[in-house]
């Protein structure tokens, strides 16, 4: 079933003619916005996946073991430094405290290539929508660490008129790290807490009420 015959008739050559206009002169392609809604196409195609199993079996449990081991040992954090905690996060990346010992030293500036968003600093209401959009643009599986008192609950600026009291009002948070700013060792303890959390992720959780062996 070719792609073109799904469209109303004449739609494709309308696009072709528009495109030629575009390069010939300056025709605004504004109305081409409602081209094929991409998410409809994506959802209709269903790929087989490990989550389709109802009960955990030998395939999913080995996959759990391999993937949770791989995911927890090498997370790419997202350089999302806001305030003073960012300087502590920065100095935890260098020689003295060396985040590389845990495998987390690859700090990625774009949300596309990272798994862990460390919110290091105060989030105010002008930064809220930006933070939410960056969180949405990260690819699954993704986690959030609220580093420092400001990200956890507004910190010393809790009664500011412009301060969001805690990042969990905007994004779901996995690990909270107290401190203002938390020492790099505290950040590493937060990362190890997150590692425990990732290690018991399962593709197919055992149904409730069933006994588990381990």
């Amino acid at each position: 079933m070719g792609v073109t015959d799904k469209f109303p008739d004449g739609f494709v050559d309308k696009i072709a003619e528009k495109v030629t206009d575009k390069f010939a002169g300056r025709v605004d392609l504004g109305e081409l916005r409602e081209r094929v809604p991409v998410d409809k196409v994506r959802d209709r195609i269903h790929y087989p996946s490990l989550n389709d199993f109802q009960r955990p079996n030998v395939v999913t449990t080995t996959a759990d073991f391999v993937f949770s081991w791989a995911r927890s040992r090498s997370i790419f954090p997202f350089t999302y430094g806001l305030a003073c905690c960012a300087i502590e996060m920065l100095s935890s990346g260098f020689a003295r405290f060396d985040i590389a010992r845990y495998g987390y030293e690859v700090f990625r500036p774009t949300p596309r290539q990272c798994d862990l968003m460390i919110v290091a600093g105060t989030v105010n209401e002008k930064m809220g929508p930006v933070l939410r959009r960056l969180y949405d643009q990260m690819s699954e599986p993704k986690w959030v660490i609220a580093m420092g008192a400001c990200a956890t609950s507004g910190g010393p600026f809790y009664d500011g008129y412009n301060v969001v009291n805690g990042v969990d009002k905007i994004v779901p948070v996995d690990v909270y790290i107290p401190g203002c700013p938390p020492r790099p060792e505290a950040l590493f303890q937060g990362l190890l807490e997150l590692r425990k959390k990732i290690e018991d992720m399962k593709f197919v959780p055992t149904p409730a009420g069933e006994a588990t062996i381990d």
Partner: protein, 164 residues
């Protein structure tokens, strides 16, 4: 052109104050805040003219604007222009009293380009409108923030906060 060497006109702070009082009549209640600041009040209407003349007095011209502090004095708002002079190495504070309801004053961003952002911040925080300012927008708060938070009568409403 190079700036004058700092403190080259070695005048004491009293000579500077006397010079200012003599040169510019509109400055009233000129007093000295030891050790290095001349404080005076200026009428909002004559501010632009005073600003031009204060900067261009040869001998102790105030070329640099440090900051503009917007203070809510209860009955009236006040803009404090804090200036620095390289030649006489002294500070000058111009206090401009503004009525609370219609707090408007001429901009000085053409006299000192540094005033551009300070005025935008005074507008954003205290609601003092600067007439003739090239681009008077909010500088620190969200564009859809309601009210001026540093005023004493600012009511912090819940609707004003998307993530309350």
């Amino acid at each position: 052109m190079a700036l004058p060497r700092i403190g080259s006109a070695d005048m004491t702070i009293d000579q500077v104050a006397a010079r200012l009082k003599g040169e510019i009549a509109e400055l009233d209640d000129v007093r000295i805040q030891v050790p290095d600041t001349v404080v005076c009040r200026v009428d909002p209407a004559t501010l632009k003219d005073v600003a031009h003349r204060v900067r261009d007095i040869e001998g102790c011209g105030y070329e640099m604007l440090n900051f503009i502090a917007a203070v809510d004095r209860g009955d009236k708002l006040e803009a404090v222009y804090h200036l620095y002079s390289f030649v006489s190495n002294s500070y000058l504070e111009l206090h401009v009293g503004l009525p609370r309801g219609k707090a408007e004053v001429d901009t000085v961003s053409d006299v000192w380009p540094a005033a551009d952002w300070h005025e935008r911040e005074a507008w954003d925080m205290m609601g003092i409108k600067f007439l003739g300012h090239p681009d008077l927008r909010r500088i620190l708060l969200r564009d859809d923030f309601v009210g001026h938070p540093l005023r004493k009568d600012y009511a912090d409403l819940v609707e004003n906060h998307p993530y309350a």
